[in-house]
Symmetry: C2
Subunit: 441 residues, 2 copies
Amino acid sequence: MSELRTVRGMRDLMGPEMRIRDYLEETAIEVFRLFGYEPLDSPIMELWETLSAKGGEEVDAETFRFEDKGDREVGLRFDLTVPLARIIATNLHLPKPFKRYAVGKAWRYDRPQAGRYREFTQADVDIVGSDSPAADAEVVLVALEFLKRILEEDYIIKINNRKVLRGLTEKADVPESLAHECFRAIDKLDKIGKDGVMEELRERGIAEESSRFLIDAIDMSGTGMSVLDRFQDVLEGSDIGQKGVDELRFMAQVFDECKKSKYVEFDMSLARGLDYYTGPVFEGRYLGEPDVGSVLGGGRYDNLIEKFGGPPTPATGISLGIGRLIDVMLEKGLGEDLAPELDAFIAPIKKPMVKHAMRMQCDLVAAGISCEVDLMDRSLGKLLELADSRNARYTIIVGKRDLSRGEVSLRDMLTKETEQVKVGNIVERVLRFTEQAGPPS
Amino acid sequence: MSELRTVRGMRDLMGPEMRIRDYLEETAIEVFRLFGYEPLDSPIMELWETLSAKGGEEVDAETFRFEDKGDREVGLRFDLTVPLARIIATNLHLPKPFKRYAVGKAWRYDRPQAGRYREFTQADVDIVGSDSPAADAEVVLVALEFLKRILEEDYIIKINNRKVLRGLTEKADVPESLAHECFRAIDKLDKIGKDGVMEELRERGIAEESSRFLIDAIDMSGTGMSVLDRFQDVLEGSDIGQKGVDELRFMAQVFDECKKSKYVEFDMSLARGLDYYTGPVFEGRYLGEPDVGSVLGGGRYDNLIEKFGGPPTPATGISLGIGRLIDVMLEKGLGEDLAPELDAFIAPIKKPMVKHAMRMQCDLVAAGISCEVDLMDRSLGKLLELADSRNARYTIIVGKRDLSRGEVSLRDMLTKETEQVKVGNIVERVLRFTEQAGPPS
């Protein structure tokens, strides 16, 4: 066997995993289109000056970066937001709000771990040009509709607001320059617990008393308005904090009206790692096994387009982590459900029949019937085995004697019954059968 | 405006171009699935030792190549065949014939020209493990079905056989070591004419008499069996040449039986640039304006898997050039035909109505109706203009007074008629309308 292999931390997709990825992407795109988003695609690589415009230390450490032959520094995109920001900043004519979806790969050079790859697929929706919390609510509703279609009930989207967090640090007397350090420590509550966060805050130079105040506050999470009332009490006196709560309240009213409240949790410890968020932030989790961590994330980033040289432009969006969801769906056994089915397997009995078999295949395919012709000159017994292994609904046996009478044998692979069908009637006949069983796949 | 830009030779896709690409990819995938092919995806980058296993001088010159941080040499794939060959060579358990499709991007660092990009999308089908010309015929039939769906009539697939060309050089007394040089010169007949090819052959060290023989022979092209009879006459006495003609004859019989002969031309000057082809070779052209060059290409490559360290494995395939077809379809005006339509545009009259509008959006989307809620707090006049510009079939106006009676206004954007509809009936009502007009998009 060959010793060639994939690049470390990357994987080939075939069989069940591949079918699940197609299903997830197709489901996401269907939902995005129903909500009125338009597709956008950009090159996988960007100039380094574009990638680095986003800022943040991970960009430097985790980007696949190289020089092209013109000696320009380029790199592979690490998300789908950077290309969007570049496009918005350089195409001022685009109507606002600009609602786009994008499905594509991104690359990060981080340590390979179970379930994490250096090449991964994301499916993003973003709304550019609206500063309304209605836009934040909408991208969450898009994600909820997607999750409903693939997971039915076992999911939650956690929501917080960077303004709420800023209000908290204000009330805790944390200097603005240390606010982001605070958010990063707080974001780890789930993983390292209260004591761990206290320790992190101490290491980052936050005063004992401030840390104590934050720890007491961030423990709050729950669904609906009552938890937001408690957010509001804690943030009394902070203008930015109150503004944050008002935005969340507007979103909560939308989710309530849409009967989605039980899938949404307001969680004051949620910060999200990326520094560029300015308002509501979101993170989605699958509640069953395996726990794969966050399966979607996003938030409002009102300052990002400016960083790319564009005019001040509010924007919000959400990114579905297709790669992690593949693992969830595999575990749920979806790979088997998606096993491809063939409407018909066409078995030419020896080579001179192949051209006749292929003619039937052309006619069937043109009518939207999936079918395959055996190319290996096999015996009838082998051919029927093969038809079974390919999940064929029917086998069409093309033999010389039958064909001389203008007929073929049509075998129903479920009932094991065989009947003679005129060649000219085969499309109509199989179409009738497959339509009884549902539309052709 | 920002001065950031795309990497040179690469493009963003949005609007009509993007919709055309989606349409082409979706059409290709539908045809591939109907013919029983299964999807396969691989990372966009491969180890350099994998990429260079293919051989050929362009690989060295045209690959985007770099070192990753582990100091391994890697590069972006320049086609979808190399990853397939690696996967076949390292996954010996895969059942044969292995029929896979792949749709994805590839990269070549060549000189940017009009209509040629350094990042481009290909849609490939390959059959691995069958040495039958029936497999070659099948991949051509797949391509013909695709072309029929997107272009109706204006296309041709040219076919030749490397064995025919080898037979020709044998008959012309060209040494085997110069055969590939000959093929490359011959392949230019379309572009540089007979005199040009003569000149090229002279430069490559082919004897005058040999060149004369080749030039007289390669001028043959046409559809159906009669041109193959002439191929056969010219190749009399060459075993490999006769074998090549026999394979083409088998394919011609299939196309004849499938009533596809008029879309297929046997052309003795077709060689295809890549050295690894061993049998039939294919090239597709759009016959209308603009002439974008080859829109698909492929052929049989029985030695390639071995070059990647796998066992001897026959294989054949075809690659659709989605990028060039985008330009064809744009010129044909398809971009406008594909302009997205919205089933409903929901216009909340001022902010307090937004949550009710979003609730209706959720209900409509869940029922498969595409719709959008205005997020910008606009006046009714502006909203109706916007609904028109979004190609909305209906506008649902959500006003406070109507809603207090449990109603909304439904405006038919074609007839300009407006009626009151109970909120609870809105899904059923829009569904009835859109079903009359065809299924929701």
